[in-house]
């Protein structure tokens, strides 16, 4: 109980305080560095990764496991053991036991057993199992969640068409949980093609990429789209929403030549160009701009290219590039060798997602069982002259008490 509250507060707190590495945290650090460093000292800038959070989570797990055992015993007793309750809700009738039992069964009560001359009948006994299912699900989900977070590994790569990614990967970014080891591909892979499509208002509609995986001399193609990843072996391949043009350039300055590659994002729309900066070894920065030609009805057109060269404060004039033709931009000679598309793919390896989801479904079905049913029981015992009926609802008595009244009237019973 208190634990749930603590967990809730931690989540809320974790939300209010900017998390490490987010844009909001960056802003806080700029606006009030004292507060930011105080938060960092207290370890409050990463609540969800903190030891306290882990301990609270572990406590919840233990408590829920204990609740699980407790509930299992209750359900077992209520379903399979029979003990006449000391219920206030009871009446007697002159009707013979057989007739009473028939009436009870007509209300969809099921025979459960006998004890001390009493017949025991249950209605919606499956509803008793809801609480147990819910808490088992809770333990399973939390356990699996910890497993997933601890062992998950993700790697991100920007690939140009034709580029081959070796198993060790030239990752843009690779990270994972405490228990995970670096992500290694089963086999080298290459990006064969990537095709974005757009809505009439220039917003991204979908990206379809074809990957080729070179396994033991055989080639296997895998097609991925945003929201349609492919699982292969133990890895899942995702299409990210980043796409654009790659410019392969040859840059020469004072007789020193350099080959560089620049990934420029797709322009946001026809009216706006996008750009990327590339630092040259000589210390200068090239800014590459890409925009769409006006004729492009969809956005898939040949982009115009602009190169800018900034050296210190000094900026060169803007130059347009054409494949194979060197242009002088300030003191630098730039040749566009080729234009390709690039896109971003994400590779993920994890364990326990299925178990996690199974846990959640158990929570769901458990809750439905709890709230959609009102399990109840009846004990019937007959003597020579009268039959005794004892009724009890395990929960939501107010919702089903009418049934008891109906039963009593049917059998013309007298309240005891």
């Amino acid at each position: 109980m208190a634990l749930i509250f603590v967990l809730m507060s931690l989540v809320a707190l974790g939300y209010v305080i900017p998390r490490q590495g987010t844009a909001r945290a960056g802003r806080l650090a700029l606006e009030s560095p004292e507060l930011a460093s105080l938060l960092a000292t207290l370890g409050l800038d990463d609540i969800f990764g903190s030891a306290v959070f882990a301990v609270v989570l572990a406590l919840v797990l233990v408590a829920a496991a204990a609740a699980m055992v407790h509930q299992a015993r209750i359900v077992w007793r209520r379903t399979f053991r029979h003990a006449v309750p000391r219920s206030q809700t009871t009446f007697t009738t002159d009707r013979p036991p057989a007739e009473v039992v028939a009436a009870v069964r007509s209300h969809r009560y099921l025979f459960a057993g006998t004890v001390l001359g009493h017949g025991h009948y249950l209605r919606q006994p499956w509803g008793l199992w809801g609480g147990l299912l819910l808490h088992v699900g809770l333990v399973v989900a939390l356990g699996a969640g910890v497993l997933v977070i601890g062992t998950e590994r993700r790697a991100v790569a920007d690939l140009a068409v034709g580029e081959v990614l070796e198993p060790q990967g030239m990752w843009l970014y690779e990270a994972g949980g405490r228990l995970s080891s670096p992500l290694v591909l089963d086999a080298p892979l290459a990006l064969e093609s990537t095709d974005p499509t757009f809505w009439p208002n220039d917003e991204l509609r979908q990206i379809l990429s074809v990957l080729v995986i070179f396994e033991d001399a055989a080639e296997e193609t895998v097609t991925i789209e945003v929201n349609r990843p492919v699982r292969r072996g133990g890895l899942v391949y995702y299409q990210d929403q980043a796409v654009g043009h790659t410019f392969l350039l040859e840059v020469a300055r004072d007789g020193v030549a350099e080959r560089i590659r620049a990934d420029v994002p797709w322009p946001p729309d026809r009216a706006t160009s996008s750009h990327a900066d590339v630092a040259l070894e000589t210390g200068a920065v090239l800014q590459l701009r890409s925009s769409l030609d006006d004729s492009a009805v969809s956005m898939i057109g040949v982009p115009a290219v602009v190169v800018r060269h900034a050296l210190g404060e000094e900026r060169s004039e803007v130059a347009t590039l054409t494949v194979g033709v060197p242009v002088m931009v300030g003191p630098v000679s730039v040749t566009l060798v080729d234009t390709l598309r690039w896109t971003r793919i994400i590779v993920v390896r994890n364990h326990g997602i299925g178990v996690l989801f199974a846990g959640f479904f158990m929570i769901f079905f458990g809750s439905v069982l709890i709230y959609m049913t009102a399990p109840r029981e009846v004990y019937v015992a007959g003597s020579e002259t009268e039959t005794v009926v004892i009724w009890r609802a395990f929960r939501f008595r107010e919702s089903v008490i009418e049934e008891y009244e109906t039963l009593r009237q049917e059998l013309q019973g007298r309240e005891r």
Binding site: L204, R205, P229, Q241, S399
Partner: protein, 276 residues
């Protein structure tokens, strides 16, 4: 064809809203004004409203090519539809809950009104908006909203009825029964909310390669879910009931509204991209 359907949709929504309004007025007269005979009529108008509303949703679905879960207008409309449909479906058997109509129908009217006010512009689907998990995700949040609305209706009526012992609100069930109703529907809301989060996580996992990112909507959704768990546990273990429980449930519901309708406006939320 498509254009005509698209033109038709807000008009049908308007008609449905008016019918909900009539149903709501009749329900209030029936329950508060003790004109019991009006109660079946209120129901009939609600059925009619629901029918028109269904046609409106289908027309729009066909016209824009996606389900009612992208723009605010669509989401509010779908929430109203699910709340009323769920209410009618459960009260077929659960007759005692029928008088909650005084709460449900006006809420439907309100949702439709706000929806129409925000406007029926069509939004284009980003690539991440597809798949069964997205459908489940939104469907369960609609269900959670519908059940929570029913629960909070029971709580509000409980508070009103408990304060007016003079026999007003005669058509409404006795307070203990209302209390039990609030409890059960609150429990269902909790369950549906949970599964909605789950489906959302699976969807996020397919669409963005991660199942949970602590973005504002996700975080507040979790807080809301835990708040409902708190409510259920207070009832269960601290024997909270009656007015105290009713106020707590209303607080939970307000939190849920905040999560559903306002957090997506916060900057930096993934959901913000689509629901502004």
């Amino acid at each position: 064809m498509t254009v005509e359907l698209l033109m038709l949709d807000p008009r049908l929504h308007l008609v449905a809203a008016v019918l909900y309004g009539i149903a709501a007025a009749l329900a209030v007269l029936a329950v508060v004004g003790r004109r019991d005979a009006l109660s079946p009529w209120s129901r009939r108008f609600a059925y009619l409203a629901l029918a028109v509303h269904t046609v409106a949703i289908i027309a729009r679905w066909v016209a824009v090519g996606h389900g009612p879960y992208v723009s605010r207008y669509e989401v509010l409309s779908a929430n109203a539809w699910v709340a009323v449909a769920l209410f009618e479906a459960t009260t077929m058997r659960f007759r005692a809950a029928r008088s909650l109509a005084v709460f449900i129908y006006p809420s439907a009217l309100l949702l439709m009104g706000i929806g129409l006010y925000t406007g029926p512009e069509v939004e284009l689907l980003p690539p991440t908006f597809s798949g069964i998990w997205l459908a489940l995700h939104v469907a369960f949040y609609f269900l959670a909203f519908g059940t929570a609305l029913t629960a909070v209706g029971a709580s509000v009526l409980y508070l009103l009825k408990a304060r007016s012992p003079d026999g007003r609100l005669a058509g409404v069930p006795e307070p203990p029964e209302l209390d039990a109703l609030a409890y059960r529907f609150g429990g269902l809301a909790f369950a549906f909310w949970g599964i909605g989060m789950l489906a959302g996580a699976i969807w996020a996992y397919y669409a963005w390669g991660r199942f949970w990112g602590w973005d504002p909507v996700e975080t507040w959704s979790l807080v809301t879910w835990l708040a409902f768990a708190l409510y259920l546990h207070m009832r269960r273990f601290y024997a909270w009931k009656g007015a105290r429980a009713a106020y707590l449930l209303i607080a939970c519901f307000l939190l849920a509204d905040g999560t559903l309708f306002f957090t997506s406006l916060i900057d930096g939320s993934l959901h913000a991209v689509y629901f502004r």
